[in-house]
Subunit: 318 residues, 2 copies
């Protein structure tokens, strides 16, 4: 079974579901939004950038950061959670930037993406770019390095996502937008206080056994077997490991959303399994993809200028 | 590859990982707890019941409810989130009852279970029963019905969980504790305002295409194909569908935890896909598994008596 990519040239988001047109109402249950209870075009019609990440607090902090960076009115500290009626996901808006949490793992981000894409469709959003800004385990790279994903691969290093539909398995492409990868790498050249590189990202269904960790409640393999697997992943081009990128690439690709994955590495998995860096170091690492994406968004909006270089130098020194 | 069940007769929780003993410190990263930063035996040594569910708010409400039901000191409204330093999971304790959120989907609950089981091991907990109290889509049953899972099955109606370890696929049993199922069914006989039944629970990796929904951003099948699939599931004994039960049964079984899954059905999937019941109806549905589990826990602790029948009648009428 093959499926066509969603890009159709008019910039709209493409839901690929003939049943939606005949629905009188669409309740986006896990977002606590709906077509009859909310005016989605008014609430979201101007959205151009959607940023998603696992943690609700981090996505709130990113929205506040973008509010400030875009020079929007008010101090941004009182941004309201648009999904406040549910605790499944959190959503914040700063001008044309929507910032949403997706929890951990493929199923959790998949529910959010289905409802988000219907939201963008109902709101008639146009030319939307979507970026996952996340955390990951690095592979042969220094902690704190930011990885821009060129291809999302599964546990077998294949660029594919297997979706069960009824009881058939459909294989989907996990290709991401190549131009967007280059554009993001160019933006990273403005930042000198951390390294950014392009690499494959491995997406697993499990943090412990599935990523070759020796420190879970269950572990049946040796230190040597673990290293042999991780080194094979490295040789296949994998530079970091997380738990959402394949389904993110697959769904966004099918729906015509230009998508990117930008994750910071919290540790180097060739050197250990436990995340032991001090809290403040981890917090600073998590701001790195946010900093990169803020430059990307400001450049796209024509709000970035050379003066920022001074700011970035300031960021480095403080 | 076969794996032995974890029951060993001494009532302790069994981590099956020879590497753990040689670790100087164990950081339970996603719970924001650790063996060097917290005195886990003092904090958790008395835990006998662990209840888990997707939503943080629901698990907080359950802990407050149990605090009251067990007649513990204070009003329970100021129970603190033990995982407050992270927003990945929430955890509350009411006497011997630990109540923890696990987010949505197999990967999310799997991370929590690895760290929870290590926590129970480090705390030297003994004779622990673990119950998932969740929400689900019903199959051929009325909304509001509570289903006690006898067997968790996958999208192909098989009682198995496939775990990727390095790049091998290991098949695990999803058997649950039969005596516990009967004990819970007996407890349900004390409650007359909603139906409880025993059935198979299907666990999927996706809420939309994977559960045959016609209302996602992507849908490639007809109403007829959907119904044909759901009816085959019903004929195979499936009475509800959710997204965590197979890995929950597999991991708990291997680690010697007696485990049960008790979910309320929010809708009948043979009649629709969207969750449209009014908010207050859904809130009341979600209290039903909590009510059942409170009776189970009180009976186990010798705190349940016939007077409760009056309470239950009161519950019904108000």
């Amino acid at each position: 079974m093959t499926e066509r990519k969603g890009y159709a040239g008019n910039g709209l988001v493409h839901v690929k579901n003939p049943h939606l047109d005949s629905m009188d109402e669409d309740v986006l249950y896990h977002l606590n939004l709906g077509t009859k209870t909310h005016n989605l075009p008014v609430m979201f019609g101007d959205v151009k950038f959607v940023c998603v990440g696992g943690s609700p607090n981090r996505m709130k902090a990113f929205a506040q950061f973008m509010h400030k960076e875009l020079g929007l009115e008010g101090d941004g500290k009182d941004l309201k959670d648009i999904c406040a009626g549910t605790d499944r996901y959190s959503m914040y808006k700063a001008g044309p930037v929507l910032s949403i949490s997706h929890g951990m793992g493929v199923p959790s981000i998949s529910i959010m993406l289905h409802e988000l894409i219907k939201l963008l469709h109902h709101a008639k959003c146009c030319d939307v770019t979507i970026i996952r800004i996340g955390t990951s385990g690095g592979l042969g790279i220094d902690p704190g390095t930011v990885v821009i994903t060129d291809i999302a691969v599964d546990s077998f290093f294949k660029a594919r996502f297997e979706q069960v539909i009824l009881d058939n398995i459909v294989v989907r492409s996990t290709e991401l937008d190549k131009d967007l990868v280059e554009e993001l790498l160019n933006c990273s050249k403005e930042i000198h206080y951390f390294p950014t590189l392009i690499g494959h990202t491995m997406c697993t269904y499990d943090f412990y056994e599935g990523q070759g960790r020796l420190d879970g409640a269950l572990c049946s393999f040796s230190h040597e077997k673990k290293l042999e697997y991780l080194k094979r992943a490295y040789d296949a081009g994998v530079r970091n490991i997380e738990m959402e990128s394949t389904v993110f690439a697959a769904i966004c690709g099918l729906c015509g959303l230009k998508a990117a994955v930008v994750c910071v590495a919290l540790l180097n998995r060739l050197e250990g399994d436990q995340i032991k860096a001090p809290h403040e170091v981890l917090v600073e690492y998590q701001q790195r993809p946010q900093h990169l994406i803020s430059i990307f968004i400001k450049k796209r909006l024509g709000l970035y200028n050379q003066m920022e270089l001074l700011d970035n130098a300031f960021f480095l020194n403080n």
